[in-house]
Symmetry: D2
Subunit: 358 residues, 4 copies
């Protein structure tokens, strides 16, 4: 098994390769009868599209999903929804030279061994970040279904290297704030960080290098009591889904790794009552206790590694000839994948949350 996220009665099955005919997704288990706003889906997917300012790859594809099944007159039918995106702008020649030189930080070598050398290596094949396009499609569908259930979701760049945005207020974040960051050129709360972040990325690019960062996600309006104990709690499903986004090397909820620096008396979130609802004054638990939602905002952070494709020469090996070689990667690569990964992380968490409602 591999490229399927399956939880509860929802399954999301992603297929395709960077340089194949098409990529796509089959989503099964969706509730019947809810209308999809395809403009909204397009806007979601557009946030993943490359920027035109040099901070992204220059590969450019319209990435318009064609719906093959599961939607009629704009309404979800409840049967499997298949959406396909044609690959149109492959420059496979760019990849001819990499042949069997393992690109550091990529899955060329591990995938080659895993698939006995039978998988398409061009552009990373099935491991390509391009597969996040159908993921974003599924996540955009999930966003709408969550919204129909009163749940608002959003994500932003928390940091790129040493330039940090301010975090979402884990207690008081509003739907408006979640919406606002989506409309910005770079998804940031503090707009003054836009310029320095872009410069940082362009500098890295000029140095034939790349940078990574951290993305923060938030969902508000989650009903209390959603989730399961032990292996099927919110953290488990969300983590399983988020590590489906290439380049994620860590995930944390609420205070995350900072809990290790706190006393219990600091970390514990005291309960109180406001307007007939049980809330906590702080939100170190990230909205999740025992794998189950408690009504506070769900907060998730994911660490994104620097794009492994950099243009400077790197030492590596040819795994077929078992010789050490030097590699200079050509092609069109993002000097920083973080801005485009924001909707991908959002999509991955959305799908995990939706699975509890299917």
């Amino acid at each position: 098994m591999s490229s399927e996220f399956k939880a509860g009665n929802l399954s999301v099955n992603i297929f395709g390769e960077s340089h194949g005919t098409a990529i796509g997704v089959v989503i099964d288990g969706l509730p019947a009868g809810e209308k999809l706003d395809f403009d909204e889906i397009s806007r979601f997917m557009a946030r993943r599209a490359p920027k035109k300012d040099g901070t992204s790859t220059r590969r450019s594809e319209p990435d318009i999903p064609e719906i093959l099944s599961g939607v009629m007159d704009g309404v979800i039918e409840g049967i499997p929804l298949c959406a396909v995106i044609k690959n149109t702008d492959q420059h496979s020649n760019d990849y001819k030279s990499v042949s069997h030189l393992a690109r550091p930080g990529h899955s060329d070598y591990t995938g080659y061994v895993r698939y006995n050398g039978s998988n398409d290596l061009r552009g990373g094949g099935h491991f390509s970040g391009r597969l996040t396009a159908p993921l974003c499609f599924a996540g955009a569908v999930a966003a709408q279904l969550l919204k129909n259930r009163g749940i608002e979701t959003g994500a932003h760049i928390l940091k790129i290297k040493d330039i940090c945005d301010e975090p979402f207020d884990p207690v008081n974040v509003t739907a408006q704030q979640l919406e606002t960051v989506k409309s910005r050129y770079l998804p940031l709360i503090d707009e003054t960080k836009d310029q320095p972040m872009r410069e940082l990325i362009l500098n890295a690019s000029e140095n034939l290098d790349s940078v990574g960062g951290v993305i923060e996600y938030c969902a508000i309006g989650m009903p209390v009591g959603i989730g399961n104990p032990m292996f099927d709690g919110l953290e488990n499903r969300i983590a399983q889904s988020v590590f489906g986004v290439p380049a994620v090397k860590g995930i944390e909820f609420g205070a995350g790794f900072d809990v290790s620096d706190m006393y219990g008396s600091e970390n514990n979130d005291e309960f109180y009552i406001r307007d007939g609802k049980i809330l906590t004054r702080t939100n170190n638990h990230g909205g999740i206790l025992g794998g189950i939602s408690g009504g506070m905002p769900i907060t998730v952070r994911a660490a994104i590694k620097p794009t492994p494709s950099i243009s400077r020469p790197q030492k590596t090996v040819d795994y077929t000839t078992m010789t050490e070689e030097e590699l200079t990667i050509k092609g069109r690569h993002d000097p920083c994948i973080v801005p485009r990964a924001v909707p991908c992380i959002e999509a991955a968490v959305n799908i995990a949350l939706l699975s509890y409602f299917c």
Copy 2:
């Protein structure tokens, strides 16, 4: 669904409650014909047992698993293995007073809503850390089967609050080192940290408080090419399993969250060849590329929150009467769960790794 870890052809199904008759586990999908060393299993489980020095709870149970099925003459039969551990030392009276006051940082309230108030709340019920005993049993079985496949595993306390152990060398860690930490009173690489860590914990305890930390896990000898793309890679399965351990609030692989501070040229691990094997000179990728093992040590870190049960008065609510109250938790609690959580994290990752071989 809930308390089952299921991946590949392996399932680990944990049942029981802190104050019920017994807790246990059904493991299905194990390979037939391999001999189990039950002394070794006991040693693994003993590492989870409370310390007698005040750093742990004083609840004391022998926790000897009784094998109901699946093992004959010490050999795994291949059919479902059921192991049961009787609960013998419940002090349910300790819990009488908590009634429906939500203990901050616990799942009392979320579980109550999730199960319509029908679940046993005493001692956390099914959400109790006590359920990690059968998890450790399963993890100890997994450790032996992994060892039979040439894979050595271990874990240690990386830090408790501001006192840090040195990390495993992610490139050169040896089986001997993995073994050594297991035999120590506190599982540490740097023994000089034992005394200050214990003092830190005892101080927290005296202050009616608790502390958390970070645990680091390592597996060596993992063959190349194990794992699947997207949602079923090593990170996905390991994360899904590790968040099954209560109190985990974050997980990271390789350089983890530190990748956000690195340039691609720093983070990329260059490949080279030694003794006919492809290796990397650094191991920021934590042994995993594209969800698939590459032959370097698998490194995982998990953040453990401070024990939420602390003895000082805390503000909270009664979720049945919807009134604000003050709560003073009685009972026997670990002022720091980190040392006992080390074998639990080890167990959780072991199970995830084993699933690829079942």
Copy 3:
């Protein structure tokens, strides 16, 4: 994977061996808050108990399930329910002589190969009909939860060899009829068949032989619209579950194999309306169209083979020495398993139906 039925959010995990310490079941995904009537469960399980009149095995075990978890004060908690039944009346000596002679019609040889000779062969081990005791426990729980949702279930002996009971009226069967057959010595609609059936069985037994039969199951009150298309419809789940009962060699729904003798105009069930409900005048579809319930009684029939353990000498092989041998099976065997299999089939279908409500 093996001994788990998993569908929707329900899983039923059966473990144990005929001559091991205990057998049992973990049921996960049950809805929280419903009260269980344990006397009712006992009555369900008692229907599986051996008869004392020579038509059943003389192995006699009380088979009282001990609840280890998941039920508190008689109410389902929603967390995993584990029930265990001790093995108390093993006569393992009876099996000493069979050693590695493959009993015809049994899984001795296939199981031996499957498990590399590591599985317990005594009494069939994990393949023993004894494992249907925890199945019946789970099915009895399911029966109550179905009843809480307005669904009544029952089953009877449709035939044993050439002696046939009358079938349930597939259109007008009542809850009363489903209940009545459960209370009879042999579960029959036509009581005049009780005597001849028992004589048939005793005759077979005296001839050192055995007989099989067909069991018919019926559920009424199933809401319309339950089920899924293609691989997850009612027939799929029910069949997957029912073939979990040893000795089942066929299953059919509604008119079943008889559809092959009908014209479409005969087989099609015309719809009509009565009391504001859509019904069909005949029920060849067995209550299921496109894998989905339509409101008519769900009817299922299962073929049960004659008990393979017969006392007359049989030719066989020793699969370890690869020699042809003659085998005379000793031990206490049912000359006809059909009466005791009735609650087992009922349990298996009940579990499949319940899975759509979890």
Copy 4:
């Protein structure tokens, strides 16, 4: 969940609707590196194509699958394989009149309730027999991978109404025989039955009626020891898959329902040794004991109901207005689906068998 067959590490996810844009399948978990013969796949799928002699629908579509991913240079890559078949010959006007009149024997009404009226009803939508085209694609792929493992498979019409083909010899059936039936106009062992069967079908058609039948499947070369106990045995997986073919109302293995007429001494298959292999002299067990293969041919029979779409007027209801109506179905329908269902049953069983090797 719904239209996915998932077992072991194989998943087959079928999507599409009769009158939508396209239908297709995503197959995940296939072993990497094996070459596919696409001419062979076309031949397999051609066996499902409508006959031109009046015994089939006159709807005619080339049904050429387009491979979107998972195959490169004719070789299976190991990542998800997606194949899509465009719908080109929809006559949706034919269906305009049926609107909300429930066609007897169809899932119109049950599907309407299941999906709250949101699913495409034209031509049966997702419930259409047309969805067996991607099923056959998957089954053709499976056939080749099974053949690579020494397993030959085939199926034939055992009977249509009262005209019977001779059955496969369950002990001595050969690969040649399995191949021969595939090449015949009607897949029959006894060619003298071709003419009377076609007349029977045409007669039914002229009478505005339809007929059903029984299909028999056989696999030889299955290694010993494949399968799992209880709920995951060969019968369980095969049944779960085969009931995915519309119109199947029953399934049986080996002697099937006939076991109910036999004594144990007749039904038991005695073991013997030939050429160093353990065989049985008869094969009432259908190659499966305890859910596990024993080396004898795997034999399966499925009952196929008469096509529910018949051209004579039928009484039914409008499930939206809740009125009783008369319905005359127009459109192009198979007076007998059995011949075209033969490769579908074959595909379904093939997929189930393959799942044990993925």
